[in-house]
């Protein structure tokens, strides 16, 4: 495998970098300050994008795990591993940014709201995935077992949400909701959608890098095995 970063990926890196700068400029200079919440509401443009990418990433992980179990191709396992790792980072940032927003607005860092609880449990499940992956030595077993775990993890997330949905939620519904203090005007909504799109492009770039890393690691493992066999 070529160690050099592909030209297309380099272009995507720079493209997403400038798009993020543009989005920050939009958020801080071009979008009006929310009337009730003030400046702290601006964190929502990042928070929603990160939470969205975190969830999509775990879904990508489960889908690629299913394909891996059917086809057995290494690349799908690499996608699952990458998606879980990156999804976990994005989810943790979403939890932290949400908490920073909640402190002045809800007057608490944390509340046992169904969405907050489900997201945190989701992060715990996929942190477990990384521990499981790290403690399995046999590569074949590692791929199969972690694929099954990521599918079960993805199944468990909606079940958790349903099991605690009876708890009264104070989390604002950004899209299609009727939360009285969270009606965004068209400019704010446009910025929110741009932020989600831009961070999704950034996610694709990071995923590409991480999958390349997994492929390089696999190649090193294979080379090690070959050299050990040659010595024997």
């Amino acid at each position: 495998m070529n160690m050099q970063i592909p030209k297309k990926l380099k272009i995507l890196d720079w493209f997403s970098f400038f798009l993020i700068l543009f989005t920050c400029w939009l958020i801080f200079y071009k979008t009006p300050v929310e009337m009730n919440m003030g400046l702290v509401q601006k964190i929502f443009y990042f928070h929603v994008a990160y939470a969205w990418i975190g969830m999509v990433s775990f879904l990508v992980a489960a889908i690629s795990a299913i394909i891996f179990l059917r086809k057995g191709l290494f690349i799908y396992d690499a996608v699952t591993e990458s998606a879980v790792e990156i999804g976990l980072v994005f989810t943790l940032i979403a939890i932290i940014t949400g908490s920073i927003w909640a402190r002045p607005i809800w007057n608490t860092w944390w509340t046992w709201d169904p969405r907050l609880t489900t997201t945190s449990i989701m992060a715990l499940i996929y942190a477990g995935y990384l521990f499981l992956r790290g403690s399995l030595d046999n590569p074949e077993k590692r791929r199969k077992i972690t694929s099954i775990y990521s599918i079960i993890g993805c199944l468990s997330v909606p079940l958790t949400f349903f099991s605690i949905r009876g708890v009264r939620s104070i989390h604002p519904v950004v899209f299609g909701g009727d939360t009285p203090d969270f009606n965004m005007d068209s400019q704010m909504l446009r910025t929110m959608l741009i932020a989600i799109a831009v961070f999704s492009i950034f996610y694709i770039a990071v995923m590409w890098h991480r999958i390349r890393l997994a492929e390089l690691k696999e190649e090193i493992e294979q080379l090690k095995l070959t050299s050990e066999e040659d010595h024997d």
Partner: protein, 224 residues
């Protein structure tokens, strides 16, 4: 089909015979559960309100923690002396191995639930015996065993097997625990059982999903 049932029965009998000789699963679970029951006394002090109000949650916390010891051991006994390899080499359907292990784990958990619940009532002087608890316990214990055996089959193959099981298993079992605790709490507070049917169906749905995942996933996990 008949031979599958016979295989499951034979495998369960094997597990029970090992347990009757070694007493490494149920007895250990029970002693551990009793220890937590006593520790709770010091944690809760004399607060009767907390003891009664949190009874459902506390009983299930005891069962979950003690049940984990059983799950570690139920697959662990197959690992000792590489019995698992002999089992996998035999012409036995993998789903039969999974179901036999799940039934064995369920029997240990359910028996413990039947012992711990009245003991909690006796030790903490809370009048909360209800026959409906038996049905809820059975469903809750089945879901716990169904998913627990699957995760245990994963973790016995890792370097850090006993440590990893709760880390992987507890976050996954949360939906079942939440619903079971809610339902147990409602039963203990004397709510009409017919009004709780939707929660009961929810536990049943979790049981079916976890069992189906186990039957489908177990073969892939244990095969070489």
């Amino acid at each position: 089909m008949k031979s599958t049932f016979q295989t499951i029965r034979a495998l369960i009998r094997k597990d029970m015979q090992i347990e009757s000789h070694t007493r490494e699963i149920f007895t250990v679970m029970l002693v551990f559960a009793l220890s937590i029951l006593f520790i709770l006394n010091f944690a809760l002090e004399q607060n009767v309100k907390v003891r009664t109000g949190s009874a459902a949650g506390l009983i299930w916390i005891i069962l979950i923690l003690a049940g984990q010891l059983g799950l570690n051991q139920i697959m662990g006994i197959e690992k000792q002396g590489n019995m698992i390899e002999a089992l996998l080499a035999s012409p036995v359907p993998r789903s039969a191995i999974y179901l036999s292990k799940t039934i064995s784990a369920f029997v240990f958990m359910f028996l413990m639930a039947l012992i711990i619940h009245p003991l909690y009532c006796i030790f903490y002087n809370v009048p909360m015996i209800s026959p409906d608890f038996i049905l809820v316990s059975a469903l809750g214990c089945w879901g716990y065993a169904a998913l627990g055996v699957l995760i245990s089959a994963m973790t016995i193959q890792t370097r850090t097997r006993d440590i990893l099981l709760p880390v992987l298993f507890y976050p996954l079992i949360i939906p079942l625990v939440v619903t079971t605790v809610k339902l147990t709490g409602s039963i203990l507070s004397g709510e009409n059982f017919s009004s709780l049917l939707s929660s009961l169906y929810q536990i049943l749905a979790f049981d079916i999903i976890f069992t189906a995942s186990g039957i489908l996933g177990f073969e892939l996990i244990v095969e070489d």
